[in-house]
Each structure stands twice: as C-alpha cells, then as structure tokens.
Symmetry: D2
Subunit: 430 residues, 4 copies
C-alpha cells in the first residue's frame, strides 16, 4: 500500500482524447454518491441481512498485486459486471486502473491521487460495495482504504488460490455471489414489474437512482438476502510523548485509524526487550517486558495473536484481545476484554534504545514513534448511538443466503478445520 505508484492523470486523459473513449480512466468525483444499505437482524446466530434501498451503483474492485492470473480474473469479473449490470460503475485503485483499463471496453474510475494519501474520503464517499480478489492481505489492504471511515461498504471477498482465512468465496462462484449481493433486499413486487427502464435510463451520465424494477427476472425472493458478518474493528490512536497524534497518513485525515486485525508495538530490529506499560480502563494493569504487545480484534485472533499464543475468538464476540509477544515472564497469559474497554500501551522511558516498531494490520508506521509514545485503543461502536443503526465494523458478505433451505456453511468453523488445521488428528494419512 505504501508503495502505490503515484497516479499520473495526464497520460490517461491523453488516452481518452486519442481514440478509445471507452477505455478511459475517469475520476471518481464524477460518480454518484454512495448508497448506504441497511442491515436487519436474523435469527441466524448473529448474522445480519443486507438490504439495499436501491441497487448499488459503484463497486470498488481491489486485487493482489504482481499476480498475472489474478489480474486476468479481475478483467473477467469486471467484464461480467459491466455486461450484466450495465448501470454499475467500476472503481479501481490507480495502479490497477492503469494496468487493466486498456483491456476493458468501458471506462473505469479511480482516485486522482493515491487512495492512501489525500483522497480516501473520496473513495469512501463513492463506494457502495467493495469486492476483493486475493488473500487476507488483499482484504486487509481494502479495509485500510477505509481506515478513517466510520461506515465501511459491504465487502465481497474472493480467495484466489492463496490461503485466506478471511476470504469467503471461491472465484468460480463470482456470478452467483455478485448477483446475490446486488439483489439483496430487492422486493419481489418491484422485480416482477416489467417496465423496460434499463434501455432508456442512461440519460448520461448516470441515473440518479436505479430501481430493482428495472432488472427483469433477477428477483431472488424476499428472503434470499446476502448474509453479513459484522467484523468489529479497533479504533487506534498513536500519540507522541508530547501528545501529538502520529497515525495520520495524510494531512487531510484526522482522528483514529480503524484496524481490522490488530495494532502491535514491537522491538522491531533492536535485539533487546521492550518495556511497555499497559493500562486498562485508565488504570495501570501491568508492565510488559517482551518482544512486544498485540491488541487485537476477534477477527485478528486468528492472525498474529494466534501465533503469539492467544485464544481463537469468534468474530461475533464483542471483545479485545491483549496478547504479549514473547514476554519475559512465566505468567503473562493472554487476556480477552470487553470491546468497549479503553486500552493504552505506553513505551516506557526505561527502554534502552530508541527504536520500536508500531504496525497496524501489518503496515508499519514509519516515523515519529519512540520512547514515551502511547498507543490508545478502543473497540469501535457497532451501532449509531441515536438511531441504533449498524454503522461500524467491516460488513463481510458470508457464503450462503439467509433463509435458504440448503445446508448453510459456517465459514468460521470450516476455516478452523480446513485452513488452520484446528485439532488436526494424529495418525498417518489414509
């Protein structure tokens, strides 16, 4: 993410003006504003049901880099979306846009500046739906594009051969998966209406609000809605000894960074132990002498925290994990705390050596960190205080649909067994 090629607007404009008007790269500022979905509770063990008020229009596609097979899949996927859902607009990250736009017979949208610097707000202003092609790293990256956004769009993730615990779908399912998400919440009444609006609609550039009634034969039944697993994030603030906020990637971003997995404080390249004071609810809990400390979300419980000896915590347990990394103590057991517990890690002045690593979801904060620094964390609130509406977390689209007769899969339990080899039995293979 940090190595994003800097977006150069001119060449693309040029390609635009030359000939292939359709292969151009446009700015997302031209897109209609974001459509916010709603989430209804179901009696399916904490999963929610996705409800679009009107069909989504802008989908952000992200992919793993430097993997030609995945780039090919992206092109195939983009073509399918464009041809089947012509009113959809595709947003790509700048380097991906540059890489594939010439293979697409229609325009794509991108940020005029690298997504991670000046215009993340823009991406989050325009994106109705996210879809990723890659492993967990790609999902973490997509999530990081919304690291300063309270309300993340629903995310449809395709594992691409690479191991992924967070990924839900196989790429070969992309048609069905996209349709389910697109249609989720569409009422039958509208769907059966036969007004052929599709052809007439696009008095350019884009219809203000498309309607499901325009989508003939695409109804899926009232109850066949996409299932959503809300993944709690952490709200992370990193502060210098003088109290200045450090975790501000761009001049325009302010406030806390949302992390999907975890934030860590670590000795980094220093070969010596770090001394970290831990405060819980504003009170001193303990002084860790260790390689480092992890504050993890339940989602992150199967990532770094697991490697450091933490428990596996289901993503629907509203909690924070405090897991030490190689503590110089026999009695530092990992803790699981309520999600609304404020936790602070303070890099004690006792440390010799100034160096320290602070990383959020595997991305290192490169400057400003040092002795006296504080990392302050709180689980994000999942509902709006006033309306009670769901508005936090990363709404992850889970395989299977609400109310379906077919045996629903439980991705999380499945992942424990298939990916993490949980309680893998002793004995020789058959």
């Amino acid at each position: 993410m940090s190595s994003l090629v800097r977006y150069r607007i001119l060449p693309w404009r040029r390609s635009f003006s030359q000939s292939v008007r359709l292969r151009e790269i446009k700015s997302i500022s031209e897109l209609p504003n974001r459509t916010l979905p709603q989430y209804r509770e179901t009696n399916n063990h904490g999963l929610l049901s996705l409800q679009w008020p009107s069909p989504p229009r802008n989908v952000l596609l992200t992919k793993k880099n430097n993997t030609p097979a995945i780039t090919d899949s992206l092109v195939e996927y983009a073509n399918h979306i464009h041809s089947t859902y012509p009113s959809m607009n595709l947003i790509l990250e700048p380097h991906a846009a540059e890489e594939v736009h010439s293979q697409l017979a229609f325009p794509v949208f991108t940020t005029t500046e690298p997504a991670s610097t000046t215009s993340p707000t823009t991406v989050s202003d325009k994106t109705d739906l996210i879809s990723t092609l890659g492993g967990d790293g790609t999902i973490l990256h997509a999530s990081s594009l919304f690291a300063h956004t309270r309300s993340v769009p629903p995310i449809l993730t395709f594992g691409m051969g690479t191991l992924g615990f967070l990924g839900e779908w196989k790429f070969k399912e992309y048609k069905r998966a996209f349709r389910e998400v697109y249609m989720s919440g569409a009422s039958d009444a509208y769907a059966s209406t036969t007004s052929p609006l599709t052809s007439t609609s696009p008095s350019p550039p884009y219809p203000t609000t498309p309607s499901y009634s325009a989508i003939r034969g695409k109804a899926m039944g009232k109850t066949r809605n996409a299932r959503i697993l809300f993944r709690n994030r952490l709200r992370v603030g990193v502060f210098s000894p003088t109290g200045t906020r450090i975790n501000t990637p761009t001049p325009t971003t302010t406030g806390d960074t949302y992390a999907l997995n975890e934030v860590i404080v670590h000795r980094g390249s220093s070969p010596h132990l770090k001394i970290i004071s831990v405060y819980v609810n504003g009170r001193f809990l303990t002084e860790a002498v260790a390689d480092g400390m992890i504050i993890s979300s339940p989602t992150g419980s199967t990532a770094y925290s697991l490697s450091s000896g933490g428990s596996i915590v289901h993503p629907l347990v509203p909690s924070l994990l405090l897991t030490p990394i190689c503590p110089r103590s026999l009695s530092f057991r990992p803790l699981v705390l309520p999600a609304n517990t404020p936790i602070t890690l303070r890099l004690s002045e006792k440390n010799r050596g100034r160096e320290v690593e602070v990383s959020i979801d595997g991305v290192r904060i490169s400057s400003g960190v040092g002795v006296g620094m504080e990392v302050r964390v709180l689980g994000e609130e999942m509902r709006d205080r006033l309306s009670g509406e769901w508005c936090g977390g990363v709404p992850s689209i889970v395989r299977g649909v609400v109310g379906t007769e077919e045996k629903e899969e439980d991705h999380w339990v499945g992942g424990l067994n298939a990916l993490l080899k949980f309680n893998y039995p002793f004995g020789e293979e058959a």
Copy 2:
C-alpha cells in the same frame, strides 16, 4: 453440598417449645415472599446499579464448613444484621442453622429439607439477598442453591482469609458493605422522613413491605448505589444416550442446571484417553481425544480453564470458552465463542471403558453418565425477552459504590495482579 446433614424438624420444634423461643429454627415457608430488585445501567464499564423497590427483608447467609473462625464471624455478622436492621430475617442452611442458632438471641429460618434436594425453589422464593462467608468454593456452593433458578438474588461475598478470586469484600468491611447493599436505591426524600415506624411496625410477624422512610439517618444519597457485576452462567443439560435428562438432583427440579464456572467431561479415574465429539451451533466441530473438555463461562475462565491453558476472559465479555484438558493433539487451541452459541459434547461410542466424570462447578454428577451421553450447553440469556429487564446471571455486589468520588477499585484487574500473580515480574524480592 451433597453431604448436607438431613434436616430434622422435630428437635428444633422441641427447642422452640421448651424455653428459648428466640433461638428457635423456623421454616422459610413462614417468610414473606422475595423482593425483586431492579438494575440500572451506569456508565461505569458495564457495571449496573442495584435498586431495591423497598428494603430487602430475607437474607440467606452461607459459610464455609468446618472452620470455627468463620462460624464465629457468621454469628457476629448475624447479630449485627439483626440489631441494626431488625426487620431483616436470616436464612441459614440446615447444618449451619443447627450449628449456630443456640448462639443467637433471635430465630433463624431454614429449609425443612436439605436445600439441594426438594426445596431449592423455596429458598429462591424467599431470598432477597445472599451473603457468603468463605472462599470461591462457598460462592460456588451458594450459587448452586440457585442452580435451577432463573433470577438469582444479589450476592454479597466476604473472603475469609482463604484465597478467593470471586470474593469481593474483606470481612472487616461487613458493616459498611451490608449498609450499602441494604440502602441501595433508597431515595433521599423517603430517607429524610422522620416517621418512627421501626418500633411500631412489626405486629403481624413481618411487615408486608418495610419502607426506607422508616430508617432514620440511613440515607446514602441517591447515587450511592451498590454496583453490580452480572456474572453470566451456563445452562447445562446432561442427557443419557436415550435422551433422558440426567442433571436433575431432585424429583422436583426440572430443566437445565445453571453453572457459574463450568461443566467438564473428563476421564476421571480411568487411565485412558476419552474421545469426545464437539458440536457448535448444531454442527460437528471436532473430535477431541483428551483427558477431557471444559465448557466455561467467562467467570470460570480463571478457574479450571485457566489451568488447562485457556485465556483469561473478563466476566463482562458475553462468551463461552471451549477448553480441552490435555488434548492428544498439537493443534487444539482454546476457543472463545459467542454466549448464545449452543455447544454439545458427546461421549463417543469409540471410548473403551465406560467410566467418565461429569462435574458442574466442581460437583460430580454421580450416576447415569456413560458412553453415548451428551452435555448440552448454552450461555444463559441475561435479559428478559419481553421486558428487557436483567434477569439472568449472578448479580455480584462489587466493592465501591456508583458515583463515589473516591478512586474506585477494579476488582477484576486487582485480582489478576494480587491473586493470580498475573505477569509477575522476574527478579529478586526487595
């Protein structure tokens, strides 16, 4: 608990009729019915505030057995309650009643049958407040008296020299502690009223409803309410291979048993591994080959589960812990699941040997268990579905009062450090 001396009503009646009318033992059936408190949310990290609609009248005192010093404390405590709060009635367990009633100048109440067999409903029908003198074992025992009761009275616990992680108060604080609980929720208005009702009131044995206005000078201010930590219990059902329920201690009790710490399935005295199938949400999760399995509440996370390698989970994290005991696998990491997840342990037919131990909160289920048996667990619901009122869990009275200026202690964090020696630092003592 299982060895409770069988209550003989006759001798007590006799002692009654003889002379010392006040030292008699009466049946709890004579007591007024239970007063149910309410619990209000506070902004104190998940703690609630206790609100009596009218002063509590019946307090159940339990104590550790075979410890003379604690028996003495019980007598002192009982005398204090009786003299300071004359409208309070004291309930004791049969063996304790028999042991101490001759040292008390007033009647005590007890169940006419051992609390754990035919009349637990009676105890729970009459008890407004529980108070324990002893360690964690005493609290577990007191809780077991309400193991078939949905709504447990608030519990005020005194550690008595013995190590206790669940205990909150030191015995020397008993006057202040009892007063805080007794007064909790009393409004200033009433308290300032000076009608001297105390003396006149008790004509028919017990006043229907005492009033705080009768308690001169005892007001504590509207906000100085006792703080409550709701400890989630497990709902445990044990079923024979034919589906018959086994966990029914008495003919009159039905339904699930509530556990405060955990339920375990264990090889017991058989020197061989057990094979236990684990189902989560109705689906097969894994087959444990192990000494046993623990399903624990967050409260139990510092008990057996901790010894077996489980994480420490704060009692306010709504969750269940699934922790293996000595699993024959390198990859069976403890799991933390949402509190509303149904979990089943099934003792596989593959087991050689019939013997197995099933224990709830350290008390073994002595008969009926064996191969094919199932243990079904669910976290209890904490609120009534209709009213939304708090009604599950064990309402534990936490040290410190709501809204006090003085620095509140956090018992849980304190206990980690002081009792569990959490992250105890290396190095020689000063």
Copy 3:
C-alpha cells in the same frame, strides 16, 4: 494387562497328552537360557549396532488383544519364523498361546503363571528377543513384562494399522526385518562356511548354542547390523506414608519398577485439585496445586507429557521431564532435568479427600496409594558401572541398517511429521 486370563496349566497338559504333540503349549522353563547381545557404538547419531554372540533362540511375540486381523498376522509371522529359522523357539503370553496354539503345527512356550504376576523373572530369563504386533499400547505392555528387569532384550515392533509413534516397522516388512535382526553381528567368515549343521544339529531338544555358520547363504555382510535406539526408562518406586514400597505387583518382585513412558500422580475421579510437593536432588523445588504431575522419560515426551504442554524431547537426550497437569498457576512451565536427577513427588497432607490415581505407563496402581505417599523416580543407568557395557533401557530395533548406502530414514523425525502432524502447515489441502 490387569485382565489377563489366569493361566490354567492342566488343560494344556491334557491337549499335549491327547494327540497333537506339536500343537502343545510348553513351559518356558524348558527353554535354554537367554543369549545376551552386545551393542557397539556407531557414528550414526547415537544409534548402536546389535551384535549377537550366537544366533538368538527364544523370541517372545506379543500382540494387541481382541483384534482378529492381528491374531492372523501373528500366526503367519510365527509360521514364518518356525519354518525359516527352525532352531527358534516361540514364547507367547498365556492368553495368546491359548488362542493360537491350535493353529500352529509346532509347540509354543508360555509362562505357567500370568506373565505379570509371579514369573516375570522367568520370561526375562529366557527371552533373547521381543517382537510386538500392535500399537504403542502393545509395546508398553511388552515393556511392562520387563518392568523389573535391568536388561531388556532387543525389541522388534510392528505397527498394525493402528497409529503408533513407538512402532518402527510395517508388518509387510516382517521377513526382511526379522532376518536383519537375527543375523545382526554374524561375521562373514562363519557365514561363508558351508558345514550343513542345520539338519544334524537338533538331537537333544535344543542345540546348546547354534552357530551362524550353520545358516547357509544368510550372511549379510559384517556391517549390515540392526540399528538400536536405546530408550531410557524411569526407575519408579512408590512408597506409602510409612515408607513401605507399594509398587510390587507380585510377592516375588522387589525393587523399582521400570517405566518406558512416565509415572503420573493425578486427582483421578476426585473433582478437586491435588497438592503435590516436588523435590529435586533431595531438595524442595515447589508445591504443585494441580490435576496432577507427570515424570516422563524422553520417550514419554510424545505421550501424556505432550498433551499437558511438555516439550518434545528426542529419546537420545538423557533427561527426565517434569510436567504438571493443569496446574493452578500461571508460571509452572515444564522442566527438563538431567537423567540422573532423583525426583520425588509427595502427596501432601494438605489434600482434602483421600483419593488419588498413580499410573505407570497407563496402568493404574490400584491399592495402597493415598495422602502422605511418595513417588520416587530416577532415570535408569544405561551402562554397567564396572564393565561399561550397555545394559539399561529398551533396545528398540530401528528401521534401516547400519552402513547401508541407501538413504536412511530417521524414524523420529518422520514420526513427528507423519504422526504428530508437527508444524502442520496452514492452508487448504491440494
């Protein structure tokens, strides 16, 4: 083992006298005395080379019970040995002798009393070589027949479908394996001699000492000797509070019991913690409050100790493992001590409840154990103090032969990967 059918000598005598002289069961007292092999050091990472002074004559075959397929294999194996090595005598345990002798066209030998009670010395007086058909349990059982014998014969183990970490060979290899062991140490010189002694030799039932020179064409070259892994055992003494030795299965056995895996002290069927004092080198080390304690050999490090969180220790590391079972402490890390460290576990008088489990290699000591009891352990000495000869441990015949050109397998490393799924990689199966 405890359920061995009591051997009745009469029926067998009867079957003898009746007709099928060859299918009779004879007493091992008729057998020539044991031939003791020597062990030479090799430069193969601690493995030794087996050297018979003259061919072995008496082989003890043990098998897993109640498994017809294994019984069939035993018959096949016995027939092969008898026909290919006619001077070999087969010893079976009483119940196995009774079960299979009618299927064999030659006599078998057995103890006149159950092997585990009065005559283990006899078995160890006569056995040149042990061979087991079954899993680790079968090997542990065979080893227990020599639990009071300083010098255990070499043991050739065949896994039989059941998972076995200690087992070395697959049954289909039995011809090659047995030949390697039988010939191990035979010199080429003798082997090339062509004196046809085989036919003439057996006039008095058994030749005093057979010679390799009699075995035409069976030479394997000087260096193709069977490789031996010496598995250290524990010397275990269990003493009552009055100092009486408890671990004496029969009146005739005295002294320590040798354990291959471990000895454990455990709460057994009591649902309460045990308090166990641990002494190392005669000094107090710590007081364990736990389900129990394990003292394990390196061989046992992959058994119960592993399940309890112990490290995996290679069988050639001369050491003892002290591993707690579910200790009520955050800071009780498993210890690895030098093999010659005396360790004592003492069941403290502080324990409430009298019950306790003491088990050696998975077999419970059924009587005499209780509060005040001591378990005293020391790693056995592996060499004779005077001669320096190897004489302790269980000499396990390892797959592959010394000096072979073919890539030798390392059974231990192989077992970690294939059986224990050591560091099993994350990710979906191909």
Copy 4:
C-alpha cells in the same frame, strides 16, 4: 560491545612516561601465558572440581557499563586482589582500563585494540580466570570475548543488584569467593610448607610459575575445591547464499562463533512473516512460517527461548533447543534435541522482503545476512577427543564448595524460584 570506545594507545603510554608509573595501562602481550586448569568429576550431580596446577596469575575483570556504583565495586575488588594476591595481574577491557586506571595504585593490562576486533586471541592466550561484575548481559559479553576460543577460562560472576539468572555470587562475598577459586586444587602438603618465597620471588616482572607453597596459611584443605558447572555453548556458523562465512567479526578470526545462550533468525523490522527451512541431522524437518526461530543451549533455555514458550532445560542436559518465535501454526511445539545434532536454518527464497535479523546472544550480525542465508549450529564438544579432558563450555564457578558439610545451595533451583518466580503460588501476599 559494538559501542566500545576505540582504544588509543598513545595517551596511556604518555601517562606512563609522565609520572604515575604504577597507574599505567600495559599491553597484555607482556603477561605470562595462560595457565590451564583441570576439572575432576565429583559425585555432586554433574558439577566438577577446579584444579589449578599452579596459582592463576592473570584475571580478566569485566563490568557493566555506565553504572558508577559498579565501577566503584570494580576498584574495590581490584585493590583487594592486588593487595592479597600480589602476584596476580589484572586485565581490563580498554574502556574500563581507561575509566579506572587512575584510581588504582598499580598497573592494569589491556588489549591494544578493542577486545572484540583484532585481538580476542590475545585475551584468550593470557586469561587464566574471568570475573564479571554485572548482570547476565555482562556475562554474555564476557563470554563473547571468547566466542572464538575453544577453551574458556573459569568464570567467577557477581550479580550487582541487577537481576541475573546466570550470576552466582553476591558482591559482598567477593573475598571468600576469590580465595576459593584462587586456592582451588592447592594441595595441603604444599600449603603447609613455610618457605617464605613470596618476598623473594618477584625478580620482576613476573615469576614464571608461582607456587601455592608460597602462600602461607591460605590452604583450604584438599577437598575444598571450587565447584564448576560447565555450560555448553553452541557452535554457530552463518553462511551467505554463496557459502561464504558471514560470522567473522574480524579479519583474523575464523571458524564458528560460540554462543552461550542462542542464535536467532527473526523478521526484525519487517512487519511480515519469515519462511525458514529447518534441517536436522542433514534432513529436512519442517518449514517454519514465523517471526523467527531460536536455536538455544540449555543455558539459554531461561532466556529468549523461555519467552517464546520453550521448556526450562537444566544446563547439564546435553541438548539443543529448537524453539519457534510466533509460528503461524497451531502445531509447532518446541523441540529438545541431542547436543550433537547438527541443525541448519535456511532463509527460504520464498521470503518477500530482504530484511532479516540474525543475533547471537543478543548481538546482531549487522551485515551480509539475507535470503538464501544459512545458520548452521552444533552443540560444542565438551571433551577433547584424544585426551578426554574437559575443554569446551563456559566453566562457571558455582556457589558452595565441593565436599563442604554445610548445606549446599543449588543455584539453578534457587534461581527458578527466586528469579523466575517459577510456579509462583496464587493468593494474596502475607
């Protein structure tokens, strides 16, 4: 160590020539060559007895830096040695010599170049005995001065308030401790001789070989010898992908580096997992995906390996520990292997990112490391192959003397309890 002030020879020469001849700093090249002690086996659980053929003459004193109180102690200690054992010569590290020589009324010796670069061979050529003032870090540093020396002089360590697990003695014991070491092995016969050689001997500069007979009244009895614990080191070679050796701190040093605690390969400041192939005995064992890997000596088992979940291994168990750091696997349990097992860690080409940390005893190898690199480790041999004499390891002088009547302390067990808080009991402090 890396920050040693570069030794400037000129100023010191100058101070020499100016006036205070006695406070000068001399080159160790002027010292007599090293006296090699012998080690005799005792029946004290693996400890050896130190035997000087003639009194030691050259003692290397090292101390913790930047700690004035320790510098003062060094001066006191040096003065004591000089006045009580006038034939002893004191060697200091250059920066310490510069710091304290003006406070001493006699010359000290030092290397003409920083000890760690060109002249470690010189230090090891001259040092009879090492003595350290500081914590474990100071001992590790002293040991590193002999990291290319097969035969390390005995080391007498004083903890200085700082926590130290390797340290043996308290500073207030320095007189008795030094005397015990100095006299160790002196025979009574000589000691009782009264030839007053001390005064006549020093035909300057230094007597070729002093004799215990010269030390009147200092005999301690034949058996009161200093006890030695031999701490096994690791032989570590670090090789670039092309096979070039990297671990050569100076042009003049060659061959393996001896490590007292461990060698680690670690992700360092890269926030991503490392992929490390592990070979044991030349065969592939496993591919670690982890923060890193530790290969530790038993001495190091209480250092980094402990923090990473390794077992505690007694220093006399001849073994190597293979402990992963935060492995991305549920089933990577630490391994304990025989000391003579060759282990190789190979930094796989699969790694993305080039950065990696390789550290030996907490000192980072700063250059040349990267993908394709190999770390090859073997436990050092503890005895000379020909003579059978002890010649490897770090001979650490253990508190208490051989054969003393007084209760001997077991430092290791003591350290577990006092320093590591091993199995620290639950419950409130008295």
